[in-house]
């Protein structure tokens, strides 16, 4: 035999075929039977086949070695091209198209190709068509498009009217739907796939024939239409078989039960059957070329398939640029009899923009997946590139590479095809935008730094604050601060001292709630005071800026505040029950002495007049404040014991709210412990001096949570006595200016009110701190538990 020179394509093709025939896996000899099948599939007259066999030397050798096989293939190609069989022509014929095998390979395919001109996989297509029209053995009837154009090949008649072919197909028991063979030029996987599909298609074919026929007819017509296209043999991924299954699908036939594993068998099947006619060798060659080179994606949709899908789409939604609503799609795909779970998965994969509707591309992808699934292919985990919605055109070339298979949000807009309406991104984008905005806002809040010694706590609060979400619908917080500052103006009744002095201590914020600026915070404090007002009710002049807190406890706070503010408002003059907040450091220096003074008179139960006399300062108005009394006790060496008494009384003499407020407050706060008093005292002194402001806080906190937070507050503890001492030290002897009377009284009333409010605020702040600390404690305990050597194990 003369040597054979093969082009690369041919080489590949032939070797694939050889492998296919090499059932014994000898790598050297093609199984005779298989080879013969193959040759038969070539749809050549038997004498030609014999001749070829002879020529290639197999007859001589008795078997098909590789070279013989190749030669034979080449001869087949030659024969299919209509050239005379000559050994010499083996190498001389240039541009010989690859041999076509119907259902296997046959030149008929070539005819098909020519006839069909559909972008489908060459083999597949004819195969599938063949499936329907399997019958004509040796009859290149790919009726599909059997336009005379391909009639160049005398061997094949082809060009049968579609209808008859369909019927004839029915005769074919095993229509080899798509030639598994066909894909040799294409990657083996596709081959296998096709086979599978074919089998599936075959299985279905029978029952479906009639309806299928109709479909096919339509299909074929399309084919004819596209004949001109030619050369478009796009990769044939499941297409044909798919078609088969489609047909069954739409016709409501049982799902294709492809024989997944039985490739070889299916191949056998197909080989025996297929005899579609392919015409148009040139087309075929082109196709083969294309296939071998371009086809590597098993999920690609062939043009024919796509056309089919499009038609189906039209039946549901005439407007190709419109959407198919989810319900309609559900109905449609339910007909495929796939399990709902799988359909659900398919939907997830194909609804790219997650809008609950399918565009044309999405629909095609979904349909394609359904088809594949019905043919036994497993659903991919993610949408294959070729099925991405952006693939609009029917080009078989690699589609625009999918930048990111994931990222629904970010990618979807980018990949949205022009068809997609802009609505698609909106939903998904809203979320990520929100995310980002949240992040940003998270950073926004200024976090005031507390000057209190509890830096650690502070920082933690800061953390919490920044971490908190600002999405409070009630973002009065953010809006409030500006207002808050204004509201600092005390209402007529209650002169809420801007508490610059007093507030300083607090302004640092005790991370009351997140996103509170210092002013706002003060505001919140005042707001908080309403909470304290649960006990007493000094009207917090400014409405609580924070309507909600990020922390869970915030809800309670909100409630409290809401309640409190409601209750607090009407308070102004009535400080019926003075908040338990000990006299917060009064803004004025004088407050201190006044405090002392006041305390004194307070101490003197019933000494209303003197009290008022002394009450030029506000402090006197808070006679019941523990600290005052205490203060008084210290400074004026009044009997400390009077303090509690004073507190108990609702300030008869003073008649001011502060005292009352102080009383209950005091009672509330105090557990009868001296600590409280000291705290309050300190607080009062604190009012006098800014620097002292912070100290009372921790002290107070300590006071409140003394029992529980002791361990944590130890750090603060030591400070307390110091502070107290300092406070005490600063206590000048309280001069009692007894004679001021009205003016003094009013002034003191005012001051007391202010102090009241401030203290109330402080109270609420501290309560907040308490909550935080409790939480901390819990977590610390947990950690401790975990760290402890597993003693309990």
């Amino acid at each position: 035999m003369e040597s054979l020179t093969l082009s690369d394509v041919e080489q590949k093709y032939y070797s694939d075929l050889f492998v296919y025939c090499d059932t014994d896996n000898t790598k050297k000899v093609a199984s005779y039977g298989r080879v013969l099948d193959l040759f038969r599939a070539a749809q050549l007259p038997s004498e030609v086949v014999i001749q070829i066999t002879e020529l290639c030397g197999a007859t001589r050798l008795g078997h098909f070695g590789r070279s013989q096989f190749y030669i034979a293939l080449k001869l087949i190609a030659i024969a299919q091209s209509g050239l005379p069989l000559r050994v010499e022509s083996l190498n001389s014929v240039k541009d010989l198209p690859l041999p076509r095998f119907v259902v296997g390979k046959n030149e008929a395919e070539a005819r098909h190709v020519a006839l069909y001109q559909d972008p489908d996989s060459q083999g597949l297509y004819p195969a599938s068509a063949a499936a329907l029209i399997p019958r004509p053995p040796g009859r290149g009837h790919q009726n599909k498009k059997v336009p005379p154009s391909a009639s160049a090949h005398p061997v094949h008649e082809a060009v049968q009217p579609t209808a008859p072919s369909i019927e004839t197909q029915q005769a074919e028991p095993t229509s080899p739907v798509v030639s598994p063979h066909q894909s040799p030029p294409t990657s083996p996987p596709s081959w296998r796939k096709h086979k599978r599909q074919h089998s599936g298609g075959n299985a279905d074919r029978q029952p479906v024939v009639a309806p299928t026929g109709a479909v096919w007819t339509q299909f074929r017509e399309q084919q004819t239409a596209t004949v001109a296209g030619d050369g478009l043999w796009s990769s044939h991924s499941p297409p044909l078989p798919g078609q088969e299954s489609w047909v069954s699908f739409t016709a409501d036939t049982p799902p294709a039960s492809t024989v997944p594993g039985a490739h070889p068998s299916s191949v056998q099947e197909s080989t025996t059957i297929r005899t579609t006619v392919a015409s148009g060798a040139t087309a075929m060659s082109n196709e083969i070329q294309r296939q071998s080179s371009g086809y590597d994606d098993p999920w690609k949709i062939t043009d024919e398939q796509r056309q089919y899908y499009i038609n189906q789409f039209k039946t549901i939604q005439p407007d190709l640029t419109g959407f198919i609503p989810g319900s309609a799609a559900k109905e449609f795909f339910t007909k495929s009899k796939l399990p709902i779970l799988e359909l659900s998965h398919i939907w997830e994969l194909s609804d790219f923009d997650k809008d609950g509707a399918l565009t044309l591309d999405e629909f095609c992808a979904a349909f394609h997946l359904v088809v594949a699934r019905k043919n036994g292919y497993d659903l991919p985990e993610k949408l294959p590139e070729s099925l991405m919605p952006k693939l609009i055109d029917l080009d078989d070339s690699a589609e625009v590479p999918e930048p990111t298979a994931d990222v629904v949000f970010s990618a979807s807009p980018a990949e949205v095809t022009p068809n997609k309406s802009p609505s698609m991104p909106s939903l998904n984008q809203a979320w990520p935008e929100m995310n980002q905005s949240n992040e940003d806002t998270a950073i926004v809040h200024p976090v005031p730094i507390r000057m209190t010694p509890s830096k650690i706590h502070m920082q933690e609060m800061e953390l919490k604050r920044t971490g908190s979400d600002h999405n409070h619908p009630t973002s009065p917080l953010l809006a409030k601060p500006p207002d808050a500052s204004e509201e600092v103006k005390l209402p007529a009744t209650m002169k809420f001292v801007p508490a610059n002095a007093a507030g300083d201590g607090y302004s640092s914020s005790d991370s009351f709630t997140s996103d509170q600026e210092p002013v706002a915070r003060q505001r919140s404090q005042s707001g908080a005071s309403p909470e304290a007002l649960k006990v007493a009710a000094p009207p917090p002049p400014p409405p609580r800026p924070h309507a909600s807190h990020s922390r869970s406890s915030s809800l309670d706070m909100n409630r409290n505040f809401a309640a409190a503010s409601a209750a607090g408002q009407p308070q102004p003059a009535a400080i019926a029950f003075p908040p338990a907040v000990p006299p917060r450091p009064l803004p004025t220096q004088s407050s201190v002495p006044h405090t002392g003074q006041r305390a004194e008179p307070e101490g003197a139960t019933g000494a209303g007049a003197p009290l008022s006399a002394t009450s030029p300062q506000q402090i006197p108005q808070q006679p019941n404040f523990a600290d005052f009394s205490h203060f008084q006790a210290f400074a004026a060496s009044e009997q400390p014991s009077s303090l509690p008494e004073v507190d108990k009384h609702s300030d008869p003499g003073q008649g001011d709210k502060t005292s009352e407020g102080a009383g209950p407050l005091r009672t509330v706060k105090s557990d009868g412990q001296a600590d409280e008093r000291t705290t309050t005292t300190v607080n009062s002194t604190k009012g006098s001096s800014g620097p002292l402001a912070p100290p009372p806080k921790p002290i107070r906190r300590r006071l409140k949570s003394e029992d529980e937070l002791r361990p944590e507050d130890e750090q603060h503890g030591p400070q307390k006595p110091n502070i107290i001492a300092a406070a005490l030290a600063t206590q000048p002897s309280i001069p009692r200016s007894v004679g001021k009377d009205k003016k003094a009284i009013q002034a003191s009333i005012r001051r007391n009110k202010e102090t009241n409010t401030v203290l109330a605020r402080l109270n609420s702040e501290l309560q907040q701190q308490l909550k935080d600390l409790l939480e901390e404690r819990i977590s610390l305990e947990v950690q401790l538990e975990q760290l402890r050597p597993f003693s309990h194990l």
Binding site: E381, D406, L427, M434, H472, T474
Partner: protein
């Protein structure tokens, strides 16, 4: 590789959002989806989630009363227990999400929890958009599973 949502939390990030249990509860208070890191008895988590529903209800009713229709979806920390903390989130259709986080994971910030809920909500709406999913049925969506896996602590 998840096909459409990727934002999984890589383990090396300094603050990985690690939930121990994530649950989606329907309006009628039966679980649509519940998944936990199967370290020990999962039943404990089921129980925790169930009890947390009470707190959720309470918060919903409280918030609803005060603010009317404008209600915060994120409920925040429902309650802390010895070992873990439970966070809640409710949608406008009264579907509740509950995330149980290990207490030792104190580095978890509130904002992170919120973003976890946001992601859950997004994927939940995606599941709802699927016409093949019947609302009220347990959620069987791979995409949703992937999102949840991304948020959960690696199974010990």
């Amino acid at each position: 590789m998840p096909h459409c949502h990727v934002i999984t939390q890589p383990a090396h990030r300094k603050e990985t959002k690690m939930a121990v249990c994530i649950a989606v509860i329907a309006k009628e208070n039966y679980p649509l989806y519940i998944r936990s890191v199967p370290t020990q008895n999962e039943l404990k988590f089921h129980y925790t989630v169930h009890t947390s529903l009470d707190v959720v209800e309470e918060k919903i009713s409280a918030a609803g009363k005060s603010l009317g229709d404008q209600r915060e979806l994120y409920l925040g920390l429902l309650y802390p227990t010895e070992d873990y903390k439970v966070y809640g989130y409710v949608t406008n259709s009264k579907v509740k999400f509950v995330i149980v986080v290990d207490s030792s994971n104190t580095s978890l910030r509130d904002n992170e929890i919120r973003s976890m809920f946001r992601k859950l909500h997004n994927s939940f709406t995606d599941v709802m958009c699927n016409p093949f999913h019947t609302p009220g049925n347990p959620i069987q969506s791979k995409a949703f599973d992937e999102i949840v896996s991304g948020m959960m602590a690696p199974s010990a």
